[in-house]
């Protein structure tokens, strides 16, 4: 059994590609998150992929690692819950994190 996680790829009305995650990301489903992110980044062509984590209730270092791998191709949107984590981990310095 893996941890509950819903990943939705799409575009915002303004055409920005979006990968929205909802649920929790830990080492049990980090691979799934990583695959989805890889596909989404590839699909986003030159544009920066917007990774929407506002509905993620938990993110651990394995999820973080995936984000770091694609740090120069993504922008992250977060809610207050993950904000400290993204700041502390240093991701905010490598990529644009909104919602901090």
């Amino acid at each position: 059994m893996t941890t509950a996680l819903t990943l939705t790829s799409g575009q915002r009305p303004d055409g920005v590609p979006v990968l929205a995650a909802a649920g929790e990301i830990d080492m049990s489903n980090a691979d799934a998150f990583a695959s989805a992110l890889r596909v989404a980044v590839a699909g986003a062509a030159a544009a920066a992929l917007l990774v929407d984590l506002t509905a993620v209730e938990y993110l651990d270092s394995s999820g973080l690692a995936t984000l770091f791998q694609h740090a120069d191709r993504i922008e992250v949107v977060t809610g207050p819950l993950l904000a400290p984590l993204l700041t502390v981990s240093g991701l905010a310095e490598l990529t644009t994190v909104r919602g901090l």
Partner: protein
């Protein structure tokens, strides 16, 4: 009484044991001896086995026991009535004195010590003054509670009273040796008697006056003019005077009321008085002494003896004073007599001649006719008449010469022939003396004019003188002409004259003393007369002498008559033969010489009663004979000797009753004899009567000063001599009272008395000395190391102690020591000795006078007391059985300086359990002989010490595991005495009792722990709880406190803390039942109030459960809601996270089973998150002399301060903080809970488990009221820790991970444990993983990773923001 147990208890007690066995113990609170606790049985065994006086009480009514020694010394008529009775009944009369002491012992457990306490006992049929030195020590029962008292007592009555009386007698004897008048003596005596108003409440001294009436001479303790002390006592009263007059003592009953008699030092007046005659040696009593008697002492032999000695002293004092008075009177009379005698002599000496002539003439006549029977007496009379005549003639010559009336008739003679004739008269006497006699008288060229009579006297005096002083060699008489004059020399080879005496040689009445001579007779006028007579002849006389070689007298006379008055010159008469003048000279000289026994020893017929053994010393044989005959005729036994030296020898060989001695004797004179006799202890008391021809007061005083007892001047009458002899023999006894008094005093001392001379030899001892040490006067003197000293080799320590005491005497004047000595039969004694160095007033030598008393009992009592005390201390310090035994053995070894002390327990196993102070010793390592000795003790009677010569001593007694033998290896260093045995038995008894007690404590500790495990609380506590149970510290006891938690089916938890009344296993049993009942009720979900009400009914039926207090609550850990009810229990304390305190004091009501039908209330308390709840029993907060609230406040503070401490640590902290000094004296149960309880999760190391773990942790954190941000941070940190555990710890094998989280008021603690090997992060290999640890450190305040072989533990802490 048939039980064996009873027989055992009393077996060692002899008669007392039998009488104790006969007591109907069922009538006492102690019940049948078979059912007595071991501690009582042990105490009674020790008591009965001891030879030292002891008694004890046991139980609530202070039931009385005693042993044989106590019965003998103290109990008196109360035995056997006292046995088994209440001590306050037995000692009702002194309960005021001893009751508080006993009460003190029983309430504090501290021993008492009293020395020489005065107690008025009713044990002999009257109120008795008694003194006791005693110690009360506590006795404990099997459970260590104070239940009795043991008294070790040594009765001092005899010593205290004896010392008091001796003090009075000593003071009476302290009389300075100056003789006093009767008044002074009586005043002195009264002063001394007045100091002892205990033994002599009052005294009256009556003396019989000449009219026979008894007059009051002195009194003590009674005012003058008191009706009981009239000036005159007569037959009419108040005192029966007739008894004393007949030399009888009389006991008089005193009126009990009305008279108002003085009470002395007591509260009540005396009831009796003793009348004792003041005895006079051989005469009517001087009077009598009335001694009022101490009503608190029986008139026993000692008391009577004391009063008689006192009266004896008064009588001796009266005798001494009256004797002194008589002596003074006699001295005055003698002086008067002497004056008269002098006048008489000078006036009428010439009158002697006629009577002398008339005596001598008829005597000659008689002698010629007398038969042999008369002849001897007549010869004596004749010789002495001649001697008297000679003396009278010489005196008359002198008076004539002085008066110038000497009528000389000078006629021409052949001086040589005349002189030779005169000399020849002496030849036989000289030759009989063994001397050569050389007469060389050639005819002179001219005639010399002489008065023949005078010349005879000149020559005879010189010859007599020469013979008297010459013992060897010879005498030479020569006549020659020289320078126209005649020279006559008389030379001897005798004693000679010292140069300083030469000038006075011819002085009248001058006698040369201290010169060896044949006789001390002589008037000192011989040579003076010679000189006067020669001068009358116009000649000169001179002497040359060398002491020790001889003397030459030279007379020079002119030839012719030109120098003489013409009218005195007469023609030559017929050459007459030597005149009668010569006869007395020769007769006298012959008497000086040794002869055949001229005083034959007659077998005297002693006259019974008055016969005395008299030694006569006189150089004059006639006088010697005369005295001998005279004294024998009076019935005395007489030994006669010729000079002082022989007298001294005879007196020393066999001291006579009286010495009669002439003053002037050759060799040693009378005064020297007296001095020598007085110097020798054997003869110092022999009276001496001096006889002397030298009259006058000075001579008498000289004699008396020398120590003579009486002085008699010649001539004396036979009757006077005999009277004086008799008086002196009797008087001597009286005068010797000083010595006899001293002897009586010394002998009556209860303390041993001794005198050592300068060399340290013991030269005098008294009867008490012999009583105490067994060495008698027959061994005197004891020289060198006395036989009672401890042996220097086998008992070196004791020897050194004595030697040190003696050594200190060489530089100190006096000292007091307690030293060990040995009785003649070998047993060890302790003596308290007092030594004083004094100068013997008579000899001037330094002697040591000492007294000592036997303090063995006191010594050992003190030793025992301190030994028991230090053993008890050792035992009380012991934590367990081995500790107690080890301490006790060390103590025993030290006490006896043993090589080692061992304890062997025969518990039935093949090899006994062996312990020794020397850890290297083993049972198998002991010599076979020792093993046999120790094994041999097992079968013997318990608590009976056995010693083996040159080996040691042992004792067997009961041990919890069997029989224990304690053995002291003493080697051959010292004997093991009876006292040692008593002490060993006493200590072994204590040890046995203590071991049993310690063993019980051991057992109780085990029981307590087992109980704690078995019934106190659940085996597994729900999470979040911490509990403690602490038994009371000393003595360790289980109690009735408990705590309990019950997890109900719905997850709620029942919480119970309770406290049953009482201690010990009964209370624990009740507690167990209540606890079980309460638990069952809670499981039925009845709610706290209803549970307690059901418990009320249950407790009402359960003996011992009434009044238990219980707090019962039901907690929902999910919500923190606590419903509770309290049955009289102290309120639980709740400390919220912010430090606010709340006491759970609602829903409170009476303790259990009080009004069991009434309802109980319930209350609710909602525990805020991270609130800490403390439930406890009163032992935690209740302190003596403190309100309960103080204890609760202290507990509150402890909880408030510890609200951030993990719950289990806090439980320890609270117990420590609140523990009184010395530990809890009541048992304590404590229960702590903090809401919510900890989160404890265990899950497989799989990634899929992480989400549910997070959910659980989040829920718990929310219950802890943690803010969402912190929750998220904690979740991340915990997630990383778990992920790492999965990643690193279990990459290869599947394992388990444990997560534990606890919250305190101010922080969170998380622990993640895996049992794998957590690898050091390797960022190069797996860079993103290194981020996990970083995140943990970022979100938690403190992270510790501990990696070990068994796995890895991550500890994380986060502070909670309020």
């Amino acid at each position: 009484m048939s039980g064996t147990a009873a027989a055992d208890v009393f077996a060692a007690g002899g008669d007392v044991g039998r009488d104790l066995a006969a007591v109907d113990w069922t009538q006492t609170p102690l019940g049948q001896p078979e059912q007595w606790p071991q501690s009582l049985r042990t105490a009674v065994s020790i008591l009965l086995a001891s030879r030292f006086p002891m008694w004890m009480t046991w139980g609530p009514e202070l039931t009385f026991f005693c042993n044989a020694a106590y019965r003998r010394d103290t109990l008196g008529r109360k035995y056997p009535w006292a046995l088994g009775r209440s001590a306050n009944e037995v000692w009702k009369e002194i309960w005021g004195d001893i009751g508080p002491r006993i009460e003190n012992v029983l309430s504090t457990g501290e021993a008492t010590w009293d020395e020489g306490l005065l107690l008025f006992l009713e044990r002999s049929g009257y109120t008795e003054e008694t003194y006791h030195t005693f110690s009360y020590s506590p006795l404990r029962d099997d459970e260590g509670a104070l239940v009795g008292m043991l008294c070790v007592v040594s009765e001092d009555t005899k010593r205290v009273i004896g010392e008091r009386r001796m003090g009075t007698l000593r003071d009476l004897g302290s009389d300075p040796s100056v003789v006093r008048t009767e008044q002074e003596m009586l005043a002195f005596t009264a002063q001394q008697l007045g100091k002892n108003l205990k033994d002599l409440p009052f005294t009256l001294t009556y003396l019989f006056a000449e009219d026979g009436r008894a007059r009051l001479a002195s009194s003590t303790g009674i005012p003058a003019g008191h009706p009981a002390a009239p000036e005159i006592a007569s037959a009419d009263g108040p005192w029966p005077v007739s008894g004393p007059a007949r030399h009888e003592s009389a006991l008089v009953e005193l009126p009990s009321a009305g008279v108002g008699l003085p009470t002395g030092d007591w509260a009540d007046p005396p009831a009796e008085a003793l009348l004792v005659p003041l005895l006079r040696q051989g005469g009517a009593a001087y009077g009598f002494l009335v001694a009022a008697l101490n009503r608190y002492r029986a008139l026993d032999e000692e008391y009577r003896g004391f009063i008689e000695l006192t009266a004896g002293h008064v009588a001796a004092g009266v005798a001494s004073a009256r004797n002194y008075q008589a002596q003074q009177q006699r001295a005055e009379e003698l002086a008067e007599l002497d004056r008269a005698k002098t006048t008489f002599f000078s006036n009428i000496s010439h009158e002697f001649r006629t009577p002398l002539t008339l005596i001598i003439g008829p005597l000659d006549e008689l002698r010629s006719r007398a038969g042999e029977d008369m002849r001897e007496d007549l010869d004596v009379m004749h010789r002495n008449a001649l001697r008297l005549g000679k003396l009278v003639n010489a005196l008359l010559d002198f008076s004539r010469l002085e008066a110038g009336r000497m009528q000389a008739r000078y006629e021409p003679v052949d001086l040589a022939a005349t002189t030779a004739d005169l000399a020849s008269v002496f030849r036989s006497a000289v030759e009989r003396a063994g001397l050569t006699f050389d007469v060389d008288c050639p005819t002179l060229p001219a005639e010399v004019y002489i008065d023949r009579g005078m010349w005879e006297k000149v020559v005879l005096n010189l010859l007599s003188n020469a013979l008297k002083f010459t013992f060897d060699g010879g005498i030479r008489v020569a006549v020659r002409a020289e320078d126209g004059r005649a020279v006559v020399t008389v030379a001897d080879t005798g004693a000679g004259v010292a140069p300083e005496e030469m000038p006075r040689l011819f002085e009248r009445f001058h006698r040369i003393e201290n010169t060896r001579s044949r006789s001390n007779e002589g008037s000192g006028i011989g040579l003076a007369l010679v000189k006067e007579l020669v001068l009358l002849h116009g000649g000169t006389v001179g002497a040359e002498s060398t002491a020790g070689q001889g003397t030459v007298f030279t007379i020079i006379l002119p030839f012719g008559a030109a120098h003489l008055p013409a009218d005195a010159v007469v023609p030559a008469a017929d050459a007459a033969a030597v005149s009668a003048t010569a006869d007395p000279f020769v007769q006298e000289a012959l008497r000086w010489l040794p002869s055949a026994p001229d005083y034959p020893i007659e077998t005297a017929v002693p006259v019974p009663g008055s016969a005395a053994r008299v030694l006569v010393a006189d150089d004059n044989a006639d006088m010697r004979d005369y005295l001998t005959r005279l004294l024998r005729s009076a019935g005395h036994r007489v030994t006669a000797v010729g000079d002082g030296r022989q007298a001294l020898g005879a007196a020393r060989a066999d001291p006579p009753d009286l010495v009669v001695s002439d003053v002037m004797m050759p060799e040693m004179d009378g005064l020297e004899l007296v001095a020598a006799l007085r110097e020798d202890g054997r003869t110092a008391g022999v009276p001496v009567l001096l006889l002397s021809a030298r009259a006058g007061q000075e001579a008498a005083i000289e004699g008396l000063e020398a120590g003579a007892d009486d002085y008699l001047f010649k001539p004396f009458s036979a009757a006077e001599l005999l009277a004086r002899v008799r008086a002196n023999v009797e008087l001597a006894r009286m005068r010797n009272h000083h010595a006899r008094w001293r002897t009586a005093l010394v002998e009556s001392l209860q303390e041993a008395f001794f005198v050592c001379d300068e060399e340290g030899a013991v030269i005098e001892i008294n009867a008490a000395f012999t009583d105490i040490l067994g060495y008698g006067p027959e061994g005197l003197p004891y020289r060198g190391v006395p036989p009672w000293w401890p042996d220097a080799e086998t008992d070196a320590d004791a020897f050194a102690e004595v030697a040190a005491a003696l050594e200190s005497l060489t530089h100190d004047q006096h000292g007091t020591y307690t030293i060990p000595v040995n009785h003649r039969d070998g047993h060890r004694l302790w003596a308290a000795a007092t030594f004083t160095g004094v100068h013997d007033p008579e000899t001037g030598r330094r002697v040591i006078v000492g007294t000592f008393r036997d303090v063995t009992d006191e010594h050992y009592a003190i030793q025992r007391e301190s030994a028991v005390a230090s053993l008890s201390l050792r035992l009380s310090e012991a934590e367990d059985l081995p500790g107690a035994l080890g301490g006790a053995l060390a103590e025993l070894r030290g006490l006896w300086h043993a090589t080692y002390a061992s304890a062997t327990v025969f518990d039935g196993s093949p090899v006994p359990v062996f312990d020794a102070t020397d850890a290297s010793l083993t049972w198998d390592g002991l010599p076979q002989r020792r093993r046999d000795t120790i094994t041999g003790l097992v079968g013997g009677p318990p608590l009976t010490p056995v010693s083996e010569r040159d080996a040691g001593a042992g004792i067997a007694f009961g041990h919890p595991d069997g029989t224990m033998v304690v053995w002291l290896e003493l080697g051959d260093r010292r004997p093991f005495t009876e006292q040692d045995k008593t002490l060993l038995a006493l200590l072994a008894g204590h040890l046995g009792q203590a071991l049993r007690r310690v063993h019980q404590i051991d057992q109780q500790r085990e029981t307590a722990l087992a109980l704690q495990r078995a019934i106190l609380g659940p085996a597994q506590l729900p999470a979040g709880f911490a509990v403690r149970y602490e038994p009371a510290t000393r003595p360790l006891k289980v109690g009735g406190d408990w705590y309990d938690t019950v997890t109900l089916p719905d997850g709620r938890i029942g919480i119970v803390v309770g406290d049953c009344v009482g201690h010990g296993l009964p209370a624990a049993t009740v507690m167990g039942q209540l606890r079980s009942a309460c638990r069952a009720l809670l499981l039925q979900d009845t709610g706290p109030a209803r549970t307690l009400m059901a418990l009320d009914r249950f407790a009402a039926l359960l003996p011992g459960a009434t009044c238990a207090t219980v707090f019962c609550g039901v907690l929902d850990p999910a919500t923190g809601r606590l419903v509770y009810s309290s049955a009289g229990h102290p309120p639980p304390i709740a400390a919220q996270a912010d430090g606010a305190i709340e006491l759970l004091d609602q829903g409170r009501s009476r303790p259990l089973a009080i009004r069991p039908t009434m309802d109980r209330d319930e209350a609710e308390y909602r525990m805020e998150p991270r609130t800490t709840l403390l439930l406890y029993t009163d032992g935690l907060v209740e302190r003596r002399r403190q309100p309960l609230t103080e204890g609760i406040d202290a507990a509150t503070d402890a909880v408030r301060l510890g609200r951030s401490t993990p719950i289990d640590e806090l439980a320890t902290e609270v117990m420590d903080r609140l523990a009184p000094d010395g530990g809890y004296d009541d048992d304590v149960a404590l229960l702590l809970y903090r809401q919510p309880g900890p989160l404890e999760l265990e899950f497989p190391a799989e990634a899929a488990r992480l989400a549910p773990v997070r959910t659980a942790l989040r829920g718990w954190l929310e219950r802890c009221a943690i803010d969402p941000v912190t929750i998220q941070n904690v979740l991340v940190a915990a997630g990383e820790a778990c992920a790492n555990a999965i990643e690193h710890g279990h990459r290869d094998t599947a394992g388990k991970i444990q997560l534990r989280a606890i919250a305190t008021a101010e922080d969170l603690r998380l622990t993640v444990v895996d049992n794998g090997r957590w690898l050091t992060p390797r960022p190069a290999e797996n860079p993103y993983r290194g981020r996990g640890l970083m995140l943990m450190k970022a979100f938690m305040h403190h992270v510790t990773v501990t990696t070990g072989i068994a796995g890895t533990t991550i500890d994380m802490q986060a502070r909670i923001v309020p």
